[in-house]
Symmetry: none
Subunit: 224 residues, 2 copies
DNA sequence: ACCAATGGTAACAAGTTGGTAAAATCTGAT
DNA sequence: ATCAGATTTTACCAACTTGTTACCATTGGT
C-alpha cells in the first residue's frame, strides 16, 4: 500500500482525490495546514507528498523548501496558478512535478506512479557523495558544490589530489605531476602550498580532515 | 554536459529547442525519424529521450515501447494531443513525463532537470536565470533584459563569452574565435578589450563579478 | 625524558601577471 | 582625403603568486 501525504486546505477537494486514489491502492492522509503536514512528515514516513501551493498561513513554496531541507521525499505540487515563475520556483525548490489546477485525478495517478517507479528503484544513499569536485575546463574546484577560490598552483595540486583521492602521494610525485610547480622547487615548498590549501578548504586548518599528512610519506586527500 | 536524444520530425522545432537547451549545458541530438532515433539509442548513450508522439512512419507510443524494452532511459513525451487516453498510454509505456504542445522551453528544462535529479542522483542543479543574453541576428547583448551598447569587437568577445559561459578561456582561444580581432594581435590587446567591456557591463569595473580573471589562465564569464 | 626527524607556517623576496592610460594605427563613412 | 571612432600597441605600475628561509611544534624512537 502506497502512503501519500497531502497538504491541501480545501478538504473537500482533498477527500475527492483521496477517494479516487484509494481505489487504486494508494492511501492518502491530508493535512489541511502546513504546520500539521510538516510535523506529520517528521514523524511518519510517506512515499510521496502532494502539496498545494495556495495555502493559508504559509507559502507553499516555503513548505516545499522546509520539507526538502530534511527529506528527499518525492513532491508533486499542484497550484491554481500556472505561470512560469511559479513553476520555476517549484522545481528550484526540488519539486518533482507540477500540476496546474484543475487536473484530472487520472493524470495525478499516472504521475504518482511514474515518479515512484523512478524513486523506488534508487536505493537510498548508495553512492557516497564526493566532497571535492574539480572541473579543469571551468578551472574550478567545488567543496560540497560550493566554489572555492584557488590560485593556479593550488588548483593544480588540488586537481591532482582529487584525481588520486585516497592515495598516498609523495612530495616528489606532486612536484613532478603539477605543472604550475617549478620542478626545481624544493620539496619543502609543497608543505607551504599544502598549508595554503588547507587554509582554504579545511574547516579548521590546524586540524586538517581533508588533506592529511602521512609522516615520512607525503599527503593524501580524503574525498568522501 | 548532459546528452539528450530527441525524436521529432519537425526539424525547425527541434532546432529551436536544441539551441535553447544548449545554452543550459545540454546537448540535444535530433533524429527526425523513429528508426534513426532507435538505432542511435542502441549505439550511443544518452541521459534522456525527448519523444514526439505524432511521428510519420511509426506510432510514437510504439517507439516508446521499443525503447523501454531495452533501456531504462528517462523519456519525456511531447504531443499535440492532450487527452487522457494518450497520457494513460504514455505513462503505461513507461514514460517519465508528458508535455502537451505547445509548451515553454523553460518548462521543458525544468522537467529535464527534475527527472535527471532523481534518475542520476544529480545534485539539485539550480537553473538560475542567465544575466547576459546575446542575439547575433540583432547584434545585441542584453544584461537582465537591458540593452548594452557594444562596439563590434566587444560584441563578438561578449558573444563568445556568453556561448561559453562558465568555462575558462585563454586569450589565445579568444583571439582565434573572435573574428573582429585580428588574429595577429598581441594577447595583451585582449586585456584592453576586457577592460573596456568591464566598464560597460560591470557594476564596479574595479571589482568585476561577471568577467573574472583567472591568473595565468585567461578569463571566464559568470552568467548566472 | 630526551633527541632527531619531520611537518607547519610566518615573513620575506623575487618574479609574474593583469589593469590601464596614452599613444599609435587602422577602418569606414562622408 | 579627412575625420571620428574603433582597435592595437606600448609602457608602467600595482597586485598577486610562488618559492625560500628560518624557526617552532609535533612525532616517534630510544
Amino acid at each position: 500500500m502506497i502512503q501519500i501525504a497531502m497538504i491541501e486546505d480545501d478538504t473537500e477537494m482533498a477527500e475527492l482525490i483521496g477517494e479516487f486514489l484509494a481505489k487504486h491502492n494508494i492511501q492518502v492522509t491530508n493535512y489541511d495546514t502546513p504546520s500539521l503536514g510538516l510535523s506529520a512528515l517528521k514523524v511518519k514516513s510517506f512515499d510521496l507528498l502532494i502539496l498545494d501551493l495556495s495555502l493559508p498561513d504559509m507559502d507553499g513554496l516555503e513548505v516545499c523548501r522546509l520539507v526538502r531541507q530534511s527529506s528527499d521525499i518525492p513532491i508533486i505540487i499542484s497550484s491554481a496558478r500556472s505561470d512560469m515563475s511559479d513553476k520555476n520556483a517549484c522545481f528550484y525548490m526540488g519539486a518533482d512535478d507540477y500540476m496546474p489546477k484543475p487536473y484530472e485525478s487520472q493524470e495525478l495517478l499516472l504521475r504518482i506512479h511514474s515518479i515512484l517507479r523512478r524513486y523506488k528503484k534508487e536505493p537510498i544513499e548508495v553512492t557516497k557523495k564526493e566532497i571535492f569536485e574539480c572541473s579543469v575546463e571551468r578551472q574550478e574546484v567545488r567543496k560540497n558544490g560550493e566554489l572555492i577560490y584557488l590560485t593556479n598552483a593550488e588548483f593544480e595540486i588540488m586537481a591532482y589530489f582529487i584525481k588520486r583521492s585516497g592515495f598516498a602521494l609523495s612530495r616528489e610525485e606532486i612536484i613532478t605531476n603539477v605543472d604550475s610547480i617549478n620542478y626545481e622547487s624544493s620539496v619543502k615548498s609543497i608543505d607551504v602550498m599544502i598549508g595554503r590549501l588547507r587554509l582554504k578548504i579545511e574547516e579548521d586548518p590546524k586540524k586538517p580532515h581533508h588533506i592529511i599528512s602521512l609522516r615520512g610519506i607525503g599527503y593524501k586527500l580524503i574525498n568522501e
